[in-house]
């Protein structure tokens, strides 16, 4: 095979960074990789695996310490400009100008890349058609939803037909509907324009749909091949446990996950999907002396991923100590009551007569596409935004007007890291502990316990703004749990987290809910809805469906698709509702 057929050839590439603290981090540890032209390749792996570094090296933004890296037949280190002229790179946070309109942003990037007038006339209509942003040409980019922003970012990188497109986690914080639309654009580009695309992602179902997947870990390639081939490595390892002996899928899953010989266990439609470390005829899982019945099922890409990672990871991830206090949960008392909640901004109705109840000890999920009104509802619940109409009670009070005592009962983890970035882990925890009235030994004990449970002991002296993403999220959780809240609000807490970190996170949430803490979450990951006791799906401010994950799946069941995934169920429900609305409108 000649070199020109390769979009990217990496030979023993190494790259080391030095942190402010003097710590050296080996982002790429001698990686070798070949990516053929005209293919769609996914880079998957946990945070810190080196995915972003590899993409940045390929785009010539940073130079490798050693090894050689050729992109479209050119050595990046010696011809960075040549390479940059022929590729497009879309970083995790693409630089859109929020005050400029969609059209102006596009023009700006066209100007920056010297795209001729004729070429623009040819490309713009195609980009607008592809991204369906044509209707929003005059809207400022800052007013677009997360999904639309990503589409605009993609359009901006495509104004000058590149040979190779590098996408760094393009779907983080994007809802399933927009995610699907974004991927359709990428597929089309590869199919029709023979574009080479390398995309890093933490969604394994996305990697599954690519032509090739590269599993990265600690700056090296762990495995690579067609997703089918990788999935096949989990053949004979996957089982579904349907008889739960009365336990909830979530808590059973957490207990199975910590058993030896098990690589993964996740709740799925009220049952538990179990992946054993090695292929076996029959899964033998015993809990409390009871043997669980399990039927073998077809493996998925994610199962293979978990098996591969289980082999190299130590057992640290299994440490899922209970985090909460040992309150007894009674499960019938209503702690959150929302009736006919309405919130309007001008003539736009963000939340439209939404009602629901949450009982003590429940894990309750708020789901919906970007702009569905999840965050607005969330803010009203936390007392950060007044409601236009309706009533809401959290622990018996409206938090907007209630005094300090009512707010003492809740913990809040915001969507983006919102602790003091200049302060260290200890200083932040100290502040929030005092803020909630903890003092003396009690304060010291709580801080120590949470630091230990959430593994925050390293990096103690580093300003928390410089912590790696996963640590920030754990620190935010620790700060919210210091005062033993009865109710925990988690807004998109796992956005951008890798599959391993997400399991760890949900292990903690499960432990908390078992100790009686009520948990309200918003999430974009539909498989995470499986961890919830009940979920509500919102779109355009309206309640579309509410119930257990099993109920919700049942709503989307059709004759030809008997077992929809949560993702498919969600898309089906939202699209059905949108279709109905169009009919009544037309």
């Amino acid at each position: 095979m000649s070199a020109s057929e390769m979009a990217l050839v990496a030979k023993d590439v190494r790259k080391t960074f030095t942190r402010n603290t003097g710590e050296r981090i080996e982002a790429l540890a001698g990686i070798s990789l070949q990516v053929r032209s005209g293919t769609l390749t996914a880079l998957v792996g946990p945070d810190g695996a080196g995915k972003t570094t590899l993409l940045r090296l390929a785009s010539g933004l940073v130079l490798p310490d050693s090894g050689s890296l050729e992109v479209i037949g050119k050595d990046v280190a010696s011809h960075p400009q040549d390479v940059q002229n022929r590729i497009s790179y879309m970083p995790q946070r693409f630089g859109l100008y929020e005050d400029l309109s969609v059209q102006e942003n596009l023009d700006l990037y066209a100007d920056l890349h010297d795209v001729t007038r004729e070429r623009r006339q040819e490309v713009y209509p195609r980009l607008f058609e592809m991204t369906q942003l044509g209707r929003f040409k005059d809207r400022p980019a800052g007013k677009l939803s997360g999904g639309m922003k990503q589409k605009l970012g993609l359009a901006c990188t495509l104004v000058r037909s590149p040979k190779l497109l590098l996408l760094d986690e393009p779907t983080v914080g994007v809802d399933p509907l927009s995610r699907r639309e974004l991927w359709e654009i990428v597929f089309k580009l590869v199919r029709e324009e023979k574009l080479s695309v390398i995309v890093s992602t933490s969604y394994l179902d996305e990697a599954e749909r690519c032509e090739r997947a590269v599993l990265m870990h600690a700056g090296q390639v762990l495995d690579e091949g067609k997703p089918d081939e990788i999935t096949a490595r989990a053949e004979g390892c996957c089982f579904l446990v349907s008889d739960l002996n009365g336990a909830s899928a979530r808590s059973l899953q957490a207990r199975i996950f910590s058993l030896p010989g098990i690589a993964d266990a996740v709740p799925e439609a009220g049952r538990v999907r179990v992946v054993s470390k090695s292929a076996t005829q029959e899964l033998s899982v015993e809990l409390d002396g009871v043997r669980l019945q399990a039927e073998a099922v077809k493996p998925r890409f994610e199962d293979a991923f978990m098996i591969l990672f289980d082999r190299i990871m130590s057992d640290q991830r299994r440490a899922a100590d209970p985090l909460g206090s040992n309150q007894t949960s009674n499960g019938t008392e209503t702690v959150i009551e929302v009736r006919d909640l309405v919130r309007t901004f001008g003539d736009f109705t963000a939340v439209d007569h939404v009602s629901f109840d949450v009982r003590r000890g429940e894990v309750y999920g708020l789901l919906g596409p970007n702009g569905a009104g999840k965050s607005t509802t969330f803010k009203m619940l936390c007392g950060l935004l007044p409601a236009t109409g309706g009533t809401l009670k959290v622990a018996g009070a409206n938090l907007l007007t209630a005094g300090a005592k009512a707010r003492q009962k809740l913990g809040y983890v915001a969507q983006k890291f919102s602790l003091y970035g200049q302060l260290t882990i200890d200083e932040n925890l100290e502040f929030f502990a005092s803020a909630y009235g903890l003092r003396g030994n009690d304060k010291k004990d709580r801080i120590r316990t949470l630091k230990q449970q959430l593994e925050l002991d390293q990096f103690s002296g580093l300003p928390s703004g410089q912590l790696p993403g996963g640590f920030k999220q754990r620190l935010a959780l620790a700060a919210a749990l210091l005062h033993r809240p009865e109710i925990l609000f988690l807004d998109e807490a796992t956005s951008g987290a890798d599959p391993l970190a997400r399991r760890q996170f949900w292990g903690r949430i499960t432990a908390l809910s078992e100790s009686g803490v009520t948990i309200i979450v918003t999430t974009h990951f539909m498989e995470e809805a499986e961890y919830c006791d009940r979920i509500i799906i919102l779109d355009a401010g309206k309640n579309l469906a509410e119930g257990t994950p099993v109920d919700i799946r049942a709503l989307a069941e059709t004759n030809d698709d008997a077992a929809p995934t949560m993702d498919q169920a969600f898309i089906a429900i939202v699209e059905k509702e949108r279709g109905k609305r169009k009919e009544t409108a037309g």
Binding site: L385, K416, F417
Partner: protein, 372 residues
């Protein structure tokens, strides 16, 4: 009550930690005020040390030469040209080579001797009214001195009315003496208003403000927790400027430090109240910064720092009433230079209390009710 106190202390501790943790930000709180004070002290002065001028001596007598040597003997007037005709001065004035033309008219000596009106014409550059006014003043007083002296030498009676001016509190009439004490208020207001407004706006931008609102803090506690650290910073800055005034510029302090510091504390409360109010209007740091500048400029112009507020149009005089800096300058000048008593400063202090008592509760209310 006790719990509330603890929460406020927690906030103050956090705020000071955030402000003072970084050595760079620590330095940026004390060095710029001192630097600004030094720059103002040397640069912002109306005193003239040299007056470049052109001479047109039409009399060419012994007396006119004596007058000119007296002028130049002062060391202030420096001749840039000796002209034959007044018209020649135009280009020199135009090019700003000189600020003054002194014309000794014909018959100067004779008229003086005869007791009649002897004429010396001063032509000044009116484009720079301040400088030329001062230069004219210097020339006038030297010429008046000369006349008196000359007449007594000739055995003639002195002119009927002699005006002797002496300025109290600042005998040399040095601009620096009135400028530096005023800077205590001016500089600390710029720094503390910005610091307060930006710290709230940053918390809003970074989401930590939501975190505070979700915690058991009441808006009043948050407000106090923001105001007190800024006040501490303001008091330290004011003290630094006072030290520069006392020991670098050696301007004698006439009043009581207690009165001055009570006044300063009230002034800072009012200025920070404004900062908090502006921050409650702003959604992000950029807006907070723009709002601060929008208010700081008029506050400085309408403060009496550069020109007395009494000379302003009536409408503007009413506007100066909500300006904390006006009262601060009044207090610092009077206490520092005149040694004014506490009771004399009460009206100013009450005005500052009123400003703080209005701005602070409004901003506390806005913290929670601000609609996004």
């Amino acid at each position: 009550m006790l719990a509330s106190l603890f929460r406020v202390l927690t906030l103050i501790r956090k705020e000071l930690l955030v402000i003072l943790k970084d050595p760079k930000s620590r330095a940026s709180l004390v060095l710029p005020p001192i630097l600004q004070c030094l720059i103002f002290g040397y640069a912002a002065t109306y005193d003239l040390n040299t007056v470049p001028y052109a001479l047109v001596d039409l009399d060419r007598s012994a007396t006119s030469r004596e007058l000119i040597s007296k002028l130049e003997g002062s060391g202030i007037f420096q001749r840039q040209g000796t002209l034959v005709q007044v018209e020649q001065a135009a280009s020199l004035l135009n090019n700003q080579k000189i600020v003054l033309v002194i014309v000794v008219e014909r018959e100067f000596e004779r008229q003086l001797a005869s007791g009649g009106p002897a004429a010396v014409q001063l032509i000044a550059d009116g484009r720079n009214s301040n400088t030329s006014g001062v230069a004219q003043g210097y020339a006038n007083s030297i010429i008046a001195d000369f006349t008196t002296e000359w007449r007594s030498r000739q055995g003639l009676p002195a002119p009927g009315v002699q005006v002797t001016t002496r300025s109290w509190f600042n005998p040399q009439l040095e601009t620096r003496w009135t400028m530096i004490p005023s800077l205590v208020g001016t500089i600390t207001m710029m720094m503390t208003m910005m610091l307060t407004a930006m710290s709230v706006a940053r918390e809003r931008e970074e989401g930590t403000f939501d975190q505070l609102l979700v915690a058991p803090f009441t808006p009043t506690e948050i407000m106090i927790g923001k105001a007190i650290p800024s006040m501490i910073v303001g008091i330290v800055q004011a003290s630094a400027i006072l030290l520069v005034a006392l020991f670098w510029f050696q301007i004698p302090f006439a009043g009581s430090f207690l009165t001055l510091y009570v006044g300063l504390a009230l002034f800072l409360a009012a200025a920070i109240g404004f900062g908090l109010f502006l921050s409650s209007l702003a959604a992000n740091m950029q807006q907070a910064m723009i709002l601060c500048f929008m208010f700081l400029m008029p506050f400085m112009l309408l403060s009496g720092l550069m020109s007395p507020t009494d000379n302003m149009p009536e409408a503007l005089q009413y506007a100066t009433m909500i300006n904390p800096l006006k009262y601060a300058i009044s207090i610092t000048r009077q206490v520092y230079l005149e040694g004014a008593q506490f009771t004399e400063m009460l009206p100013d202090m009450i005005a500052l209390i009123v400003i703080a008592a209005v701005t602070m509760p409004i901003s506390a209310w806005m913290f929670r009710h601000r609609l996004n």
